[in-house]
């Protein structure tokens, strides 16, 4: 199977006050269609900079070094102009951020924000966009979606806001969703519901997910393959089963050893 996304020798540098900082220092990996891949690392590992480079949302202070390549559905993303990238973003690649409260527009009703994804990508019929939005909000489990579509983000709980983010991201069935710590700000019971929903939607639409997380528990729950980053470098790439049961890199072993594990009695049966 050909790769959906290929990242080759990606180098991202941030211009600092005193000196430049290499946030991503030559990272290469690929994601196959429909795959759920974890990009794991601690703060400062470069995992978010890698994600932002893929979706073309690195800020002004960052630059992608020559020699880097990001191929997505056969196109070189680093050579795309902004109008072409805008067409791709939201339609073929979508992003889910950690803080849904900050990512959603506070003065726009949530239904409007879901419908917007359809409208900016060519849907002319407003009634149809509205119907799509309500159906999607219902699909992500917003109770009484037709009514709640009129809610503003602040009227929803953190978990519900993240469901709205998933509705926006998956509305157009993109082939890749980048989820950057999508459940790190949520309580554990809500986290499980949101992760479960993300996996359901991902399966339904055949979307690949690049799951950016610091939490190996989230990796064990949801991913089939994992990439471990440390200080801008990719130190290990393995199936999740191998990562947990036959880790090769010392840092992966260190992460696994440090992971808080809840010991529980084996369930009967």
């Amino acid at each position: 199977m050909t790769a959906l996304l290929e990242v080759e020798n990606l180098r991202v540098t941030y211009a600092g006050a005193q000196r430049d900082v290499a946030a991503v220092a030559g990272v290469s990996f690929a994601v196959a269609p429909g795959e759920v891949v974890a990009l794991v690392g601690e703060s400062g590992s470069g995992k978010t900079a890698t994600a932002l480079a893929i979706i073309g949302l690195l800020g002004e202070s960052a630059r992608i070094e020559p020699g880097s390549a990001i191929r997505f559905e056969g196109r070189d993303l680093l050579r795309l102009g902004e109008p072409e990238f805008r067409d791709l973003r939201g339609r073929r690649i979508a992003m889910v951020f950690q803080d849904a409260g900050a990512a959603l527009n506070p003065v726009m009703r949530v239904g409007e924000q879901v419908a917007e994804a359809a409208l900016v990508h060519g849907e002319r019929d407003k009634a149809r966009a509205r119907a799509m939005a309500v159906a999607m909000l219902d699909r992500v489990g917003l109770p009484d979606a037709a009514r709640q579509a009129r809610a503003y983000p602040h009227e929803l709980s953190g978990g519900m806001k993240q469901r709205v983010m998933l509705a926006i991201a998956l509305l157009l069935k993109p082939s890749l969703v980048i989820a950057d710590e999508p459940t790190s700000a949520l309580d554990v019971t809500v986290q499980r519901q949101v992760l479960s929903l993300l996996l359901e939607l991902q399966r339904e639409s055949g979307t690949a997910v690049l799951m950016i997380t610091h939490d190996l528990g989230v990796v064990a729950e949801t991913c089939s393959r994992a990439l471990v980053m440390r200080r801008g470098e990719l130190v290990e790439s393995a199936t999740v089963d191998d990562l947990f049961h036959a880790p090769r890199h010392a840092y992966t072993r260190e992460l696994l050893a440090a992971m808080p594990r809840l010991a529980r009695p084996v369930p009967p049966g």
Binding site: D187, V188, L199, A220, P260, L262, R264
Partner: protein
């Protein structure tokens, strides 16, 4: 346990009131909360955001007022203490907060921050205070030379070590750790947890450990109380509560903790795959 309890909380009630210009509001954060912590024990207060665990701890320390209930520390009625005896009692109970970025004064050097308690409680000054700070920094795994640094020159883990050193400076008997390792990266978190365990045992500290991460709690606590919507719904020795939870909410919390092994049958991706491909036996029966 009653006889040996260092800290005893009875029927605690905390109402957060705000008197705005246009409306008053009152939210009951803690309702009828009671627990005891025996000397040398670590009680974990667990629950999700908004459950009242931090409010309960702050009321216990008299950092916020409470509306009903009593707090006893080593036989002393904490809530009835006059300012001066309360100030003296504070030397015996200390707190470490979650966010080492906002709990350390950014304009003070590490040495000043750690020595603050020594100065306030007139325990040491001058060269004696400096020597004490150096030994505390060593005890929490920092370089005594860090005393001249500012918080922004330190990593998150190092800052949390400074906060721990500051709490230990006055030789407390009781320490409240309010999500003290929650903001740290996992490898740093493991190191700080190991440090806390070591210090607790070496100094025979009694601890109230507030946390939402049950795996961390299982490692460090001896007793646990589970809070939901301001109330304690279940409490007991950690092994008993975690291995055979009686309250529905405790079970929900435990079941929601991510698996630590992808081969665990409870892992979401395994369950999802099963749902996507219904078992043949089920299909045949239809």
């Amino acid at each position: 346990m009653t006889g040996s309890a260092l800290v005893a909380v009875r029927g605690l009630r905390v109402v957060h009131r705000s008197a705005g210009l246009f409306a008053r509001s009152a939210v009951t954060a803690v309702e009828d909360v009671s627990f005891e912590i025996a000397r040398g024990e670590t009680l974990a207060l667990v629950g999700e955001s908004g459950c009242g665990k931090t409010s309960a701890a702050r009321a216990l320390l008299r950092l916020i007022p409470c509306d009903a209930g009593s707090v006893t520390f080593d036989g002393t009625d904490v809530l009835a203490l006059a300012p001066e005896p309360m100030r003296r009692l504070r030397k015996r109970m200390q707190v470490v907060f979650q966010d080492p970025y906002s709990s350390l004064n950014p304009r003070h050097r590490v040495g000043t921050i750690v020595a603050e308690g020594l100065v306030v409680h007139r325990l040491a000054s001058g060269a004696a205070a400096q020597a004490r700070v150096a030994s505390l920094l060593k005890e929490v795994g920092l370089d005594p030379a860090d005393t001249a640094k500012y918080p922004h020159e330190l990593s998150g883990g190092q800052r949390q070590r400074v906060a721990i050193a500051r709490a230990l400076a006055v030789d407390p008997e009781f320490i409240v750790l309010d999500e003290a390792v929650s903001a740290l990266d996992v490898t740093t978190q493991a190191q700080v947890l190991a440090l806390l365990e070591h210090l607790r045992d070496a100094r025979r500290l009694t601890c109230l450990f507030i946390a939402h991460n049950l795996a961390v709690v299982q490692r460090i606590a001896t007793q646990v109380a589970v809070m939901q919507r301001g109330r304690i719904v279940e409490a007991g020795p950690i092994a008993q509560v975690f291995d055979s939870p009686r309250h529905e909410y405790t079970r929900t919390l435990l079941d929601a903790v991510p698996v630590s092994d992808p081969r665990d049958p409870r892992a979401l991706r395994g369950q999802q795959a099963e749902r996507a491909q219904p078992a043949v036996g089920v299909a045949n029966r239809q």
